[in-house]
Amino acid sequence: MKQALRVGAGLVTLICVIAAVLFAFRLPISDSFSLLFQGAFGGKFGIARTLAIGGPILLTGLAVVVAWRAGLYNIGGEGQMLMGGMFAAAAYAFVPISPGLVLQITMVLAAILGGSFYAGFASWLWVSRGVPLVISTILLNFIAVHLLGWAVTGPLQEPNLQLPQTASLPDSVMFLRPDRQTDFHFGILLSAVACVAVSIWLFRTYEGFRVRVIGSNEGVARASGWNVARSQHIAMLISGGLCGLAASLNYQGITGTVDAGFSQNWGFLGIPVALVGLLNPLGTAGSALLFGALFAGSDQLSRFTPSGAAIVYVVQAVAVILFVVVKSVNDRRQLVGVSND
């Protein structure tokens, strides 16, 4: 009941934020809302677009949830996504299996492995060398961009050697589309599976419990004699793997090729998505769906403005700032409450 009330309040707030941003940008509010709604939910095309964007940002959002619950700032989602895409493309180019379901699954696993490996490297740097994750993941993002930029003009370049991107995938290794006119593909279901799995792992397993304790109070975890480094490693590996899976969804679901600009900021977008989802897997699913809808719908705003996606960025920024302010006021009230007792 209380949970439902909070979700409802959050939704109303978000709609107010969107209205305020539209007002600030001097767009007609009710017309824009109906266009946004049409773009996001109008007919099979709209819904398919919403889900096709919502799936990957749900995964990068979950990646943020897992890491931050363990007290780790993984802002390397971009780099981990790029690595995932690169590993999947390398699997397609170098694994000697003829295109088919086996290769498709191999590529998905390669993408997860790539993201995991990259995140694991960052957490190794933190745990064993004390390099702050915020700094190392920023640096690793850049290294991934340039590495991928090199790979798609070198060993992984498409066979005609014209464009800086990988070869287009044949349909047999792409995720199946029930309706070839729309963007919906069955890979999106993997993000829903991941959401449930992360939820169970965080709240129903011993390891997940330990991770949550470490994130909220590392001292308690250490005093209990737990291996904090090991749990943080595991959280980062899962986090990176989720980003890798997001890359696979985009690569094998939509684009069919990989290039240096392939992540479309989705790695970063995971952060506002997770925060608005209150760092909870199910909440993140809701917020990913909402922001997916906003991105899908913002295309329709082109009647009024050439840059609809810009509005979504601003809405996200304002929503995050509001979230931060509310949380800070709440924390303060709690502190006051404690001192009054």
């Binding site: 940008f25 700032y73 802002i75 740097l125 060398r129 004390g130 390099v131 702050p132 915020v134 700094i135 190392s136 920023i138 640096l139 690793l140 993002n141 850049f142 290294i143 340039h146 590495l147 930029g149 090199w150 003009t153 070198g154 970063f268 952060i271 506002p272 925060l275 403005t305 050439p306 840059s307 996606a309 810009a310 509005i311 979504v312 960025y313 601003v314 809405v315 996200q316 920024a317 304002v318 995050v320 700032i321 931060v324 302010v325 949380k327 800070s328 006021v329 924390d331």
Partner: protein, 287 residues
């Protein structure tokens, strides 16, 4: 032959932002939003310069926009004790959206890129280039030879001790953020009305993050930050030289070198890093 003026020019935006961020990080704040401050500065400077025809006014307004974002960050992370990484990310998205929207709506309809009057150059050197380099020894002296610098460093190392010595951590952090914001705005302005003479969406392309990384690479010391920024500028200028000469070297890998080198330094130095002790942690004053 290396064109040293070009190296200087390419490293200036990063140096200008990084040298300001040295003060910010020394005061204990990790401001990821630097990227957003630079981007907003770049757009504001471009818009004002193209509207008024006066690049100096553009530079001033660019600096002002960086300052404005810095003060918002300060209010949120210093007074409301908000998470610094979260607030920084919000600032980046805010500037990305606002600048893209305003640019597209005001200039995007024309189709071709719009020019703006650029800052005058004297022998290939403009005001921002000179200022950034001069700030290096100035900030070195400020940090290590003045009482103000000692207090600022104390805020980033041991804020409780600073407070007990009647140093207002809040005030010092706000001042550091303000200086960092002004310099980040100027750094962005240098990109749009110093180098390019135009603006494009997401023009900074991660240079704000690069500046933060170079502060780390330069071990939070102005002279080493200068050296690392020059290294980046040199690598960027080599890229253009190589393209014109048609050399067969994988330049994308070369571009990744500074980040790899920065990471390597961090790995080697490890926990012995001379970084500010409480970098990124909010400070709650006991009252």
């Amino acid at each position: 032959m290396t064109d040293w003026i070009a190296v200087w020019l390419f490293s200036t935006p990063i140096l200008c932002a990084a040298i300001g961020d040295v003060l910010v990080q020394r005061s204990g704040i990790l401001n990821i939003g630097l990227e957003g401050q630079m981007l907003l500065g770049a757009f504001t400077a471009f818009a004002v310069s193209s509207a008024t025809g006066n690049p100096w006014l553009g530079l001033l307004c660019g600096a002002g926009s960086g300052l404005l974002l810095a003060l918002i960050v300060g209010k949120l992370v210093i007074d409301l004790l908000a998470d610094q990484v979260v607030v920084g990310m919000a600032m980046i998205f805010l500037s990305l959206g606002v600048t893209a929207y305003l640019y597209q709506n005001q200039f995007g309809m024309i189709g071709s890129s719009v020019g703006a009057p650029v800052l005058p150059k004297l022998g290939g050197i403009d005001f921002v280039m000179a200022m950034s380099v001069l700030l290096v020894p100035a900030f070195g002296l400020l940090l290590y030879k003045t009482k103000w610098g000692l207090c600022l460093r104390a805020c980033g190392e041991y804020p409780e001790a600073a407070e007990s010595a009647r140093v207002s951590v809040r005030k010092f952090r706000f001042v550091a953020l303000a200086i960092g914001g002004i310099l980040a705005g100027i750094a962005g302005a240098e990109l749009s009305i110093g180098i390019a003479g135009s603006f494009s969406e997401n023009m900074t392309q991660g240079r704000g993050y690069v500046a933060i990384a170079m502060v780390t690479f330069g071990r939070w010391k102005p002279q080493w930050v200068l050296a690392s920024c020059l290294l980046i500028g040199w690598l960027e200028s080599i890229q253009f030289l190589a393209q014109s000469q048609g050399w067969e070297i994988p330049f994308r890998l070369l571009l990744a070198m500074p980040y790899a080198a920065a990471l390597l330094v961090l790995i080697i130095v490890g926990r012995g890093a001379a970084g500010p002790e409480v970098l990124g942690k909010p400070f709650r004053k006991n009252t």
